[in-house]
């Protein structure tokens, strides 16, 4: 089942002579439960693409459909709620709230939504992420790998339609990187979670089901490596 469809996406920064085409007519679609890696050299438009997919950055032209919703047809406040419920974002630098403890950081999307916290789900996620005994720690009391695990938990807690990760291991050593990728794979399998990850590490890309290669804002290769 199709969960994400991108149609003729373009993102242009600047005007006239200094105009930069970060994305140039990109189209593809992703099925539910797929694990997709987006690779490409620096400046190829990977991060721009992820931001546009995540509803963070409006494209210059083109459309993004997530679960058949035309994301950019929503107004700002609706888009914010849509993002909160349907998209989980994982960043290179974790972006945790320093004054909130692990449990609060993980449940933040639920708290923002005013919804009730499903204890069972929370415990399940924390157990998978190995954070059960760190519930009351603040982010600065955790290692980089642990902080990234918290941000994975935050991305998963709301059962989002789509999890987007922007170089999630870019700031970690190889052992922690491996752990983080494995955890993402577990969530991909366990919850049939659709996952799109940006990376420049070929080892990480090879863990995905499918690799999309970008260059100069265009898809130059799109191959399925696992059926």
């Amino acid at each position: 089942m199709e969960i994400l469809r991108v149609e003729n996406l373009s993102k242009i920064y600047g005007k006239g002579a200094i105009q930069v085409k970060a994305l140039n007519n990109v189209s593809f679609s992703v099925k539910k439960g797929e694990f997709v890696a987006i690779v490409g050299p620096s400046g190829s438009g990977k991060s721009t693409l992820l931001h546009v997919l995540g509803g963070v950055d409006r494209p210059t032209s083109g459309k993004v459909f997530i679960e058949d919703t035309d994301v950019y047809s929503l107004n700002e406040s609706k888009l914010a709620i849509f993002r909160r419920r349907q998209i989980g974002l994982i960043y290179q630098f974790y972006n945790l709230i320093p004054i909130l403890n692990v449990e609060e950081n993980v449940t933040l999307p639920l708290l923002l939504d005013g919804g009730k916290i499903n204890k069972g789900k929370l415990e399940e996620i924390l157990a998978i992420l190995g954070l059960t005994d760190r519930l009351n720690h603040l982010p600065n009391e955790l290692s980089g790998g642990q902080q990234q695990r918290v941000s994975i938990g935050r991305a998963l807690i709301n059962n989002p339609a789509l999890v987007l990760a922007d170089e999630p291991t870019g700031n970690l050593d190889s052992k922690n990187s491996k752990e983080i990728i494995d955890l993402l794979k577990v969530s991909n399998k366990q919850f049939n979670q659709t996952l799109i990850i940006i990376t420049h590490d070929p080892q990480i890309a090879l863990q995905a089901d499918r690799i999309i290669t970008l260059d100069d804002g265009q898809i130059i290769k799109d191959e399925v490596i696992r059926g």
Binding site: T69, G114, L129, K189
Partner: protein
Amino acid sequence: MVNNMSLLKNPEVKRILFMALFLFLIFMFMSIAMSFINLRFIDGMINRNNAAIVGFLVEEYPGAEAEIAKGILEIDNSKVQKGKGILQKYDLTSQDLLLEKTITIDIFKMNILLFIFIATIISTSFLILFYLFLKGHYRKIEEVTKYAQNVQNKDYSLDIRDNSEGDISILKNEIYRITTMLKEQAEVLHNDKMALANSIADISHQLKTPMTSLFVINDLLYETPPDEVRIEFLNRMRSQLKRIDWLVSSLLKLSKLDAGTIVMKKENVNVKKLIDRALEEMTIPLEIKMQRITIEGDEDSCFMGDFNWSREAIINILKNCIEHTPEGGSIHISFEENPIYTAITIKDTGRGIEKEDIPYIFNRFYRGRNASADSVGIGLAMSHAIIENQMGDIVVSSEKNQGTEFKIKFFKGII
């Protein structure tokens, strides 16, 4: 939209209306009580005023007591006018200071009317507010009901998510998620049906090959060939029967795995032991091909799983490696345990798997470009099914003419 907004059919609405009525009655009683209090107050004030005037006059004209009382009781309009004039002179006329009992009664009536009016206004405005509020809410609920009915009729095209704040919006979102799940399952079901049809075709085909060969041998045996030829034929028959036997029992295992009728044990499996037991089965083929096995890893590595099924999975992978590695080649097995998973890596020095085949080699009945003549495409599929059933993962990577690496991971975090 069905617009029979018969809100009253909802018990919550009935209850709230009943409560509003009850409150209205209370307001009425309170209004009457307040009118009484008000009346008493006014009455008291008048009496006090009268007392002040009477007290003063009687002190000045002690004989006029009865006359003054009479003057208050029976008000003479001409005298009232005169009194007003005098009061005006001293700037004491605000309103009618002179009142009689009938006036206080009028005030009382007026008060009661006013209070009841206010009570009615307050109650009805609350009622209207409730009504509008409930109407809005029930319209949303009706929308959800309509949506659910559509979904029951397999119409998944609607989207009820409104991306607003609040519990109703969250409810809509959750219901939409359930729909998505249903949609997905319907799709999986359809794909499964197709896969089943394909599988049956594949199975028939796989059984047909050895059976044709058996028929041919059988025909030849009718012609009573010399003994050594007969033995040869019988041996061939035997090997074909073995093949059918293996195929049928493998299919049976696979179907059990698929149906989930197999309960995988959750025991502590020592990886070293598992590999040793799997290799025992492989002694003969390894000897025939003169291949070397190297094992490396922490002897204490363990995972939670089913020993026998895991052995079956490893055996199938080893079979594949041995088959595709030339004589004198080597197979390297390594394993490790970390807090997240236990991994077993099996690497051969064989001819590798074609890049185009890699995504599909775990698919049932898939035969790669390098598959041997009597390969069925079931061994790796079975390994895959067994490992997935234990919440594990198997990944293959291969380099042409360099070898193939199978990496199995059994994850711990998952219960």
